[in-house]
């Protein structure tokens, strides 16, 4: 039993293995019991078929019964078995709940030995992870106040696993999150943000973000625990996942109302998030990018605050650098939210030369559908407010017709009022391009083209219209020379 390893291929008579191990659980010698339980746990941990075999072999009631009585080594091993079985699927976790394991696990939470508590908390966390009913069952067994007590224990491993269990419980629904908050977890979690251990910080930030994501009240309660500006130091942590979870927390708080976003902006959170985006790569950046999008979406002042914190160059770097489509889609969405408010905002986005990148993403066939949709919306929103003509000019050449309509519309709005822009438009060849555009008479595009043509004298318009050289040559052909 001591040398049981995972290299053994378990034959399909798994029930045979179980029936061999089951009697050993009731052996007189306690060490054999513990090792048998440990072996069962390792088997169940490896494969979900084996875990099912453990359930079918009626071993769980025996384990639960002895969990209440035996010494701490056995309790640890038994809790390990329960954890290993419960982690694979909701049905197996339900089977564990059905054989009454939750009450005994909650009793284990009151044990003195921290190892037993850790094993019990781990098992509860894995059970509660799957869905809301199982979480509710865990909460109904009275686990939450004990978990909050476990968080206050001095052992780091216990704190970690208790924070992770609270995070798993509160992620399913607002009522469960409210239960966790009512047990007074937030104050303790907020204190632990300052702890130097990186894995603990990961779990604590994840727990706080799962609580804050459900509703405005919960987010406000998290904010009232005075996490700002301490959370911003976590954005500078060496560990990547701490940064990711910290930006997730800030994102979940910022997305609810403009007031909460304002609070984060006033605390300097936007600058910290932008620096954090700059220092990571890949999926770690995603929550930070989404946070900037949410903040900018609320109001134009907040979008302006994002712009002056130098967010737009960073986002355009993300857009061009990142290989993954979903991160690009998030960056495109965020840029669209920033640029859609006023011409000032659109200008700030346009000067960084992101519009051609967005256009190429929209046109490329390799982009996913989501990316195409998001970049199209972003382009539309920004173009409708953009009056910065040097950025609009490249669009005349390679944009598809539905975007061309908006570009020409913008030109027709700006050109009648600005004489320097008119001159520039002619000299850069934009007027020529506009003449070449074919539009159905009566359509909006034709109206825009007409209003642009009305800004110029007729000769210039005729000069640049296509086929003008042909008409001139025709005139040469048909001219009668003056003979005197």
């Amino acid at each position: 039993m001591h040398s049981l390893t995972m290299d053994l291929w378990i034959p399909n008579g798994q029930e045979g293995v179980m029936s061999l191990l089951r009697p050993l659980l009731l052996d007189v010698v306690p060490t054999i019991q513990q090792t048998a339980a440990l072996a069962l746990g390792r088997l169940a941990n490896y494969n979900d078929d084996l875990a099912e075999a453990v359930v079918k072999g009626d071993i769980l009631p025996q384990l639960v019964y002895s969990l209440a009585e035996q010494n701490r080594f056995y309790k640890k091993a038994a809790a390990f078995v329960l954890r290993a079985v419960g982690k694979h699927s909701p049905q197996l976790a339900q089977a564990i709940v059905d054989c009454g394991a939750l009450d005994t696990l909650v009793i284990c939470l009151e044990d003195f030995d921290p190892g037993v508590k850790e094993a019990a908390v781990w098992a509860l966390g894995y059970i509660a992870r799957h869905n809301a009913e199982l979480s509710q069952a865990v909460v109904d067994a009275g686990a939450v106040p004990l978990l909050v007590l476990c968080i206050q224990e001095p052992e780091i491993a216990l704190k970690r696993i208790a924070a992770s269990a609270l995070s798993d419980i509160s992620k399913h629904s607002p009522e469960l999150a409210q239960t966790v908050v009512d047990a007074g977890a937030i104050a303790h979690l907020a204190q632990m943000i300052l702890n130097p251990d990186a894995k603990l910080k990961r779990q604590v930030l994840s727990a706080l973000s799962q609580v804050a994501k459900h509703s405005v009240d919960l987010a406000e309660m998290v904010v009232e625990a005075e996490i700002f500006p301490v959370v911003l130091t976590c954005l500078k942590d060496k560990d990547e996942y701490v940064k990711k979870n910290a930006s997730t927390l800030i994102r979940e708080i910022a997305k609810h109302t403009p007031e909460l976003s304002q609070l984060i902006v006033n605390a300097g959170g936007v600058a910290a998030v932008i620096d954090c985006i700059g220092s990571c790569k890949g999926n770690i950046r995603l929550p930070g990018i989404m946070m900037l999008g949410y903040v900018a979406a609320h109001s134009e002042n907040l979008a302006m605050a994002v712009i002056i914190s130098k967010g737009v160059p960073q986002l355009s770097v993300c857009l061009s650098e990142e290989p993954e489509d979903h991160i690009k889609a998030a960056a495109a969405w965020a840029l669209g939210q920033i640029g859609r408010h006023t011409p000032e905002h659109a200008r700030a986005v346009a000067v960084t030369n992101t519009l051609p990148v967005l256009l190429s993403l929209y046109m490329s066939a390799e982009s996913s559908e989501d990316l195409q949709v998001k970049s199209k919306k972003a382009i539309k929103n920004i173009l409708q407010k953009c009056t910065y003509l040097p950025a609009l000019e490249p669009f005349l050449y390679d944009a598809p017709p539905n975007i061309l309509k908006h570009v020409v519309g913008q030109f027709s709005k700006v050109l009648p009022h600005d004489s320097k822009a008119r001159r520039l438009f002619v000299t850069s060849g934009g007027l020529k391009k506009v003449q070449e555009i074919k539009a159905e008479p009566g359509s909006l595009l034709q109206e825009y083209i007409n209003s642009i043509n009305n800004c110029y004298p007729e000769e210039i318009v005729r000069y640049y219209s296509p086929g003008y050289s042909d008409t001139l040559l025709q005139r040469v052909d048909s001219y009668q020379p003056l003979i005197n």
Binding site: G16, L20, D27, T233, V270, N301
Partner: protein, 362 residues
């Protein structure tokens, strides 16, 4: 008479003359009448014309005055209206001025204060810079701490190495490997070895025996719970007077460990536990949990799961359970199997059913 005669003689002349005079008058009477009429009519006409002229003049004057009066009245109305419109225009213009001022003020102060926004954005960028600096400092501090921790770890490791290698220290007679005579200075390791204290041998740890005593059935068996059967030190107090028993006897009696009676030593639900124990032992011994029932129709629907010892490497072999004769359809000459003329020996089809009715369990 004479006159009469003369008159009578002249009567016809008189009569002619009378008639002539009358007719003369008559001949001119019409003319004179006409003339008189003409004159009279002319005069009357002049009179009437003068009268009409007079009337005309009077009517003109009356009309002139009346029209003047009407016009003046109209003019007053116009003037009043013009004055009114002028006043209203003035009021409107003034009201527009006030409204313009007020709207500008309201928008600037309450709705969109441009300067406040500028100020706010400036404050935000200042906060951002401050936060960026603070975070940089924090990151630097963390890095410094980490470097320091790493350096200390390295030092500790090297010290431990030096302690392990203390025998390589150079003696007076023999220079050690780190103190080669060809070097100008000894290697830094040499100095470290000089400072290091040699390691001592590890003492074997005394293994604690697992003792089974009564306290094991307490629910909390952790070391942090109650102290178990250790003799507490006596409380120091003033020595009392008088012959006393031997102190060891007294302490022995006072701190005698519990010697419970058999009745108390046994748990109250011992019988139930013993039954459970028995049941568990049986569960341990039994390979199969199902009660043995010899009646085959009871187990009709249960699939037999062979134990690990009886199943083969790949799958349970159906030969010997489902068919008792090997068949190889590839080797048949025609495509049909042998015909069975006689029915096969059904030895086991009546198994379990040849007995009494009591054997057929539903």
């Amino acid at each position: 008479m004479a006159t009469l005669a003369r008159l009578q003689a002249r009567w016809s002349a008189v009569g002619n003359q009378y008639y002539l005079r009358n007719s003369v008058v008559d001949t001119f009477r019409k003319k004179e009448n006409d003339a008189a009429v003409k004159i009279q009519s002319w005069f009357r006409g002049c009179q009437i014309r003068a009268y009409l002229r007079h009337l005309n003049r009077a009517a003109t004057i009356v009309q002139k005055w009346w029209r003047g009066y009407l016009g003046r009245r109209q003019y007053q109305l116009i003037v009043k209206a013009a004055c009114y419109t002028m006043k209203m225009n003035l009021y409107n213009a003034m009201a527009v001025r006030i409204q313009r001022q007020w709207r500008g003020y309201k928008v600037r102060k309450y709705l969109f204060n441009y300067f406040y926004l500028k100020e706010y954005l400036r404050a935000v960028s200042e906060t951002n810079d401050a936060i960026r600096e603070a975070l940089e400092e924090f990151a630097e501090m963390k890095e410094r701490e980490e470097k320091k921790a790493n350096l200390e770890k390295e030092e500790k490791k090297r010290d431990y190495q030096a302690r392990k290698m203390h025998y390589l220290l150079s003696t007076k007679q023999i220079p050690g490997i780190y103190n080669s005579p060809f070097r100008k200075d000894p290697d830094p390791w040499e100095l470290r070895l000089q400072k290091a204290k040699p390691l001592t041998h590890r003492r074997p740890k005394v293994k604690q025996k697992y003792s089974t005593d009564l306290s094991n059935w307490l629910a909390c068996t952790s070391a942090r719970s109650f102290p178990q059967s250790e003799i507490l030190p006596p409380i120091n107090r003033k020595q009392c007077q008088g012959p006393f028993r031997d102190i060891t006897d007294v302490l022995e009696q006072r701190y005698k460990p519990l010697e419970p009676t058999l009745r108390v030593a046994e748990r109250i639900n011992e019988l139930k536990l013993a039954r459970e124990e028995l049941r568990r032992e049986e569960w341990v011994r039994n390979v199969n949990d199902n009660m043995f029932l010899p009646f085959s129709s009871y187990h009709k629907n249960k699939k037999y799961i062979p134990s690990i010892h009886t199943s083969s490497k790949y799958s349970p072999d159906s030969y010997g359970k489902q068919h008792f004769r090997t068949e190889n359809p590839n080797k048949w000459i025609c495509d049909k199997d042998f015909q069975t003329v006689l029915p096969s020996f059904d030895l086991f089809s009546k198994y379990g059913k040849l007995y009494s009715k009591a054997g057929q369990i539903v």
